[in-house]
């Protein structure tokens, strides 16, 4: 152990240096955030309804996490028996066990998904049907299976080649895959050109101001699946672009509001937040893979299919689903990794939370006030900053988009 100490110390130092580097951000000195008092805009009853909404949402989240961990713990204990349903080799059998584990978790989550949907529908946050939620999720599970199988093929393949130290070559492979997905992500979404000439001109203006290379601004047709407005910056290098949901350019928002959104997204690109997201992912991929390797040693290591159910449990314990409040406060997609304390999220290009329209006179809408109020009137990072106890801390890391937005607001 003592002999390994220098190596461990060097690795810890390298990790810390990487984290410090990624943590850095510039905050404009002129930034002054306005204080918004919700009581000025909403009644006490509306604020209470909003609070109730959050409470139920969080209970559902907590229940879902507990059930998920219990199911995976049981699966880690008894899941090995499914190996007899495989005629494949160790890797193929591992894939089968991984898929069955995921499917069991999905099945256990269905009641929570249905309840969550009921709650959202009751609060007029979505019009999605129960059937499409359950069966759409079932089909989505197929996509997850593909990624799971590819991941297990990499892990188990390396485990069979190099034994317990599989995590050393596997982690870079996953980082490479994350980079690849960050690159191709914009092309996975069907988009149309942006027809609004004024918005296009504004984008060019912001690009020049921030020194961002010319970036396509496109519109994703999503109005058939949601009414919630949203936008995202996605891609790296030649693939990067700003994607506006067609629900945000449908006339509900003023040109100025849209310019703020556009500036916000370009701010992500200007500050290389998607690269940083991949960087955070890389920082957590190594220790995460190492932890799985350590945990599964008693099952013979990841070269054996029997270790897969346990590896799934470790994975979920290390990376639990995010709490609704944390997700709501998540300020940005590309930069989310460094902002909300979940830098291990392997999904570069995550979308910003939706920006539902504010309807202060709508008592039912007030039930979701904590979601709606800040989003409709404030830049999301600024909101995250002053709602959160550590607002200043957060703000330090989101200087990019905020800075651009401030300039836009000042210009306006």
């Amino acid at each position: 152990m003592i002999r390994r100490l220098p190596v461990v110390a060097a690795l810890a130092a390298a990790w810390t240096a990487g984290a410090w580097f990624l943590w850095q951000s510039k905050v404009p000195s002129s930034l002054r955030l306005p204080h918004v008092d919700p009581h000025r805009f909403f009644t006490a009853a509306q604020l209470h309804a909003a609070s109730s909404y959050s409470n139920v949402d969080e209970w559902l989240w907590a229940g879902g996490v507990v059930v998920q961990i219990v199911i995976l713990a049981l699966y880690a204990w008894r899941g090995e028996r499914f190996a007899r349903e495989s005629a494949a080799g160790p890797i193929g059998t591992g894939m089968l066990l991984g898929m069955v584990g995921f499917a069991l978790v999905w099945a256990a989550q269905v009641p929570f998904s249905v309840l969550g949907l009921w709650w959202e529908r009751r609060n007029h946050l979505t019009s999605e049907g129960y059937f499409s939620t359950v069966f759409g999720g079932w089909l989505g599970l197929g996509g997850e299976f593909v990624f799971l199988c590819a991941s297990l093929a990499v892990i188990m393949g390396f485990a069979q080649l190099v034994g317990e130290r599989w995590w050393l070559p596997a982690a870079p492979v996953f980082v490479g895959l994350a980079l690849l997905f960050a690159f191709i992500a914009p092309w996975l979404v069907p988009t149309n050109p942006l027809h609004d000439a004024r918005l296009r001109a504004a984008a060019v203006r912001f690009e020049r101001a921030e020194g961002v290379a010319p970036t396509p601004v496109v519109v994703a047709p999503v109005h058939r699946t949601t009414t919630l407005p949203n936008a995202e910056a996605a891609g790296i290098g030649p693939s990067r672009r700003v994607i506006l949901f067609d629900t945000i350019v449908d006339g509900r928002f003023t040109e100025r509001e849209l310019e703020v959104v556009l500036a916000h997204e370009l701010g992500h690109l200007a500050r290389h937040h998607i690269w940083k997201d991949v960087g955070w992912y890389a920082l957590f991929a190594f220790p995460g893979a190492w932890a799985i390797a350590r945990a599964t040693r008693r099952r013979g290591g990841m070269g054996r299919p029997a270790a897969v159910p346990l590896a799934l449990l470790v994975l979920v314990v290390l990376n639990p689903p995010r709490a609704p409040a944390a997700e709501r406060d998540q300020p940005a997609h590309g930069s989310g990794g460094g902002l909300d304390g979940a830098p291990h999220d392997p999904r570069p290009g995550r979308r910003d939370r939706a920006l539902p329209p504010l309807r202060a006179d709508d008592a039912r809408g007030a039930a979701t006030l904590d979601v709606r109020l800040p989003r409709a009137r404030e830049p999301s990072h600024a909101r995250a900053a002053h709602r959160d106890g550590g607002g200043v801390e957060l703000l330090r890391h989101v200087g990019g988009p905020v800075a651009v937005e401030r300039r836009v607001q000042a210009a306006a």
């Binding site: 499914f82 349903e85 005629a87 494949a88 080799g89 890797i91 193929g92 894939m95 069955v100 599970l141």
Partner: protein
Amino acid sequence: MCLNVGMDEHPVRLAVDDDLQRNRWTVFFRLILAIPLFIWLFLWSIAVVFAAIANWIATLVRGTPPGGLHRFMCSYVRFTVHFDAYLWLIGNPYPGFMGEEGEYPIDVTFPQPTAQRRWSVFFRLFLALPALLVASALGGSSGGSLSFVGGRRRYGGGAGGGGGALGFVVAILGWFASLARGRMPKGLRDAGAYGIGYSAQAAAYLLLVTDRYPNADPTAMLDGVDRPPEHPVRLVGDPHDLRRSRVTVFLRLLIAIPHIIWLALWGIAVIFAIIANWFVILFRGTPARPLHRFVAAYLRQRLHVVSFLTLTANPFPGFVGEYGRYPLDLELPGPAPQNRWETFFRIFLAIPALLVSGALGGALFWCAVWTWFYALARGSAPWGLRNLAAYALRYDAQTVSYLLLLTDTYPHASPLEGAPTPQHEFAEALAA
């Protein structure tokens, strides 16, 4: 791979006493000659609607179908069998109009009226639906016309006859073959007879002639029919392994997705390998061994995945198409000399086989669907559907092997497995 495990014989039995000889003139004008039979079938079907309702009520009350109505139904189903056999060229002579027993080379025998469970009688229309859907894929105007009776015409060919996809393909291909050779190919004849037999069993079940559910096992259906010669491409493995894991059955489609993607990627490489092999065979007369091995592994993998997907086999397959690793496996010939002309025109020559394979694909789909429900409930696959699926998979493997230049032996459409030594009748047919 379609063995009889000693199930009780189905009370509705098909009898095939056909010499494969066809009269070219009556074959050429078959559709026109069948017009009176069409009209008669249509009229009879209308009468059967009312008779079936009366029979249903009487059976619910008495527990046993009345003798007169039972005979009426038997005659009707037998007539549809004769009619189908004539229309599809499964039989040669013109059939009678009364559906009398023993008058036609493709015939069917029925049981005497016996007591039936009332709840099964009450729900008969719904219980028969899966069998009618399989029958609609295999063919048989009895299935089709009775679908009409049930007000669900979309499931079958309708009262006018015609039958399902397999029957239609058999009729079209058989028409050309019979005109050219004066004989119906045995494979097509057997396939058509099997479809007719299954449809007759489905119709008999629906019309309360029997309460035994149709048995899709081809070996049991064509018991007594000569087996074809052994094909170099054949299924091997344990057909009695009917156990199915409920969890993996429930998730089967999703779990198979990685395999489907892998197969698609592998398929791209196979296209180039086939093109290369095509040139090699044209020049050398024999496939290149590495290419042959590569394509053979792909084909084996394809069989494993489709078997898994359609619940014809239980375990999750591997990814390399290794021989002997999967309970349902494929024996393929090694690289052997092939006819250059046949190789040159292979893609065109394969079209008839592809049509039959496509028709059987419909039956395979329904097998998979019903096996899914059955396996979820019982934890095992039904023997009959499993063997029908194995037949469809075997024919598909033979077709694709032919298309992918693994063999130049044409697929054999008979639902029966090949015998190592061809039996008397078929040996003569080959000689002819």
